[in-house]
Amino acid sequence: MSTITFDKVGRIFDSVTAIEEINLHVRDKEFVAIVGPSGCGKTTCLRMAAGLDFPSSGEVRVGERKVAGPGPDRAVVFQQFALFPWKSVYDNVDFGLRNKRVPASERRDRIAAVLKVMNLEGYERSFPHQLSGGMQQRVAIARAYVLDPAVLLMDEPFGALDAQTRVLMQEELVRLARVNPRTVLFITHGVEEAVYLADRVAIMTRRPGRIKEIMDIRSVREAERWDNRTRIEDVMDLESFVHLRTAIWRSLREEKTKETT
């Protein structure tokens, strides 16, 4: 059982309260997106789950264990991809497997499989700078997926992509999530993206960040059979989708307005 639990988590940076008190429980194999105004601390939440940052109060648990540092059970996809520019596509994907001491022949098979799923066959020997942004991000996702992690942490993974590529990647991620469900924590400022991808969407307040409300998307998705439609625009046309999107927009707008007054 791989759950992520934020238990009364607060984080203070140099006497600035970034996060006040976050309570959030991501269930096993559930896809939760966090949306919020910029600077609200959503990335900090993800970093604390990854073990790259630590709470000033409260604790973050993955499964039953308190997060004490990074680990390959929790794969991270960064906004800026963070591929190693001096390693080929193959070696980038191989890096985590070697750290886990996976035998060579098994590594080869797993890398071939994940590159196939991510449509990267034939690019094994390419270097990141030779690839488009969308392909680089597919490599970054492959690098995370190949470890078969119980938990996937994604920090605005599509933020640096152009609109068309982003849509394709979102569809790809939905496909992956249905075939091979994981516990996912997904940070974004894109409301449509959150509604399209997530089972639940957590809305954060502006700084100091708290969880303002949590919207259940999954029940609507299942009731309205969103998954029968493969294209994102067909889903986005549905009244149920528009309704959820507008509700989240409104909630975020309130936060924006507070900011300016």
Partner: protein, 264 residues
Amino acid sequence: MTPRPDGRPSRAEIWVLGAAGLATFFGLWAALSGFGFVSPRFLPSPAAVAMRGIFLLAHPFAGASLPVHVLSSLGRYGLGFLLGACVGVPLGLLMGWYRLLDDIVTPIFDALRFVAPIAWVPFAALWFGTGIGGPVMVIFAGAFPPCLINAYRGARFVDKKFLEAARTLGAGNLRIIVEVLLPASVPSIVAGLRVGAGLGWQSLVGAELIVASSGVGYMMVQGQSAVSTTTVLSGMVAIGIVGYLVDLVLREIQTATQRRRGLA
């Protein structure tokens, strides 16, 4: 030639300007010695220096021909530079990684930094003699600091996202140092090697002026004793050319490493 939109001179213009500068330099030199303003004994004409240089290519002076002196210098230089790089680069990387090591080494380093490589010559001669050890130590004193400082800077200012990515992918310290810190620092390390190579070469000839019984520097000192200004100047030209060639090789390496990452 039409001016470029950004107002900078074109490639061809730069070439012409450079050639004009060199022509003026050699013209003035030739004029000073040729028209008898300065005695050719103190300032021989460029042609005389070139002739002497060509003569020295095949005929021994101070025990060996010029190429043999150059090779002898290059041998010491290679050894000293290699030593400086092999100690400087790893130590710099580790200092960038371990705060503790940084805190221990930096004060020692800062204290010794302002002792010029040439200032090590007497000490080097006392400790390692005038054969190969002394000069090698002086070259080391020249090449080591830039190698260390640049490796240190490279490691210290590695983009954090690479280190974080490596840690979330389960890498241990050793693997991060070898596979992330080192390659991420390569551009800075290579820049350091270039500076170190230049300083090492300069220091070497300085060292050979005092210690050593062969090498370009030694040949020049012998030329000075024999009041053979052409020999001295030939040595200087040889130093310049070899130094330039060494830098050219390192510059190529630098470009190649950048190209591999799509930076050039």
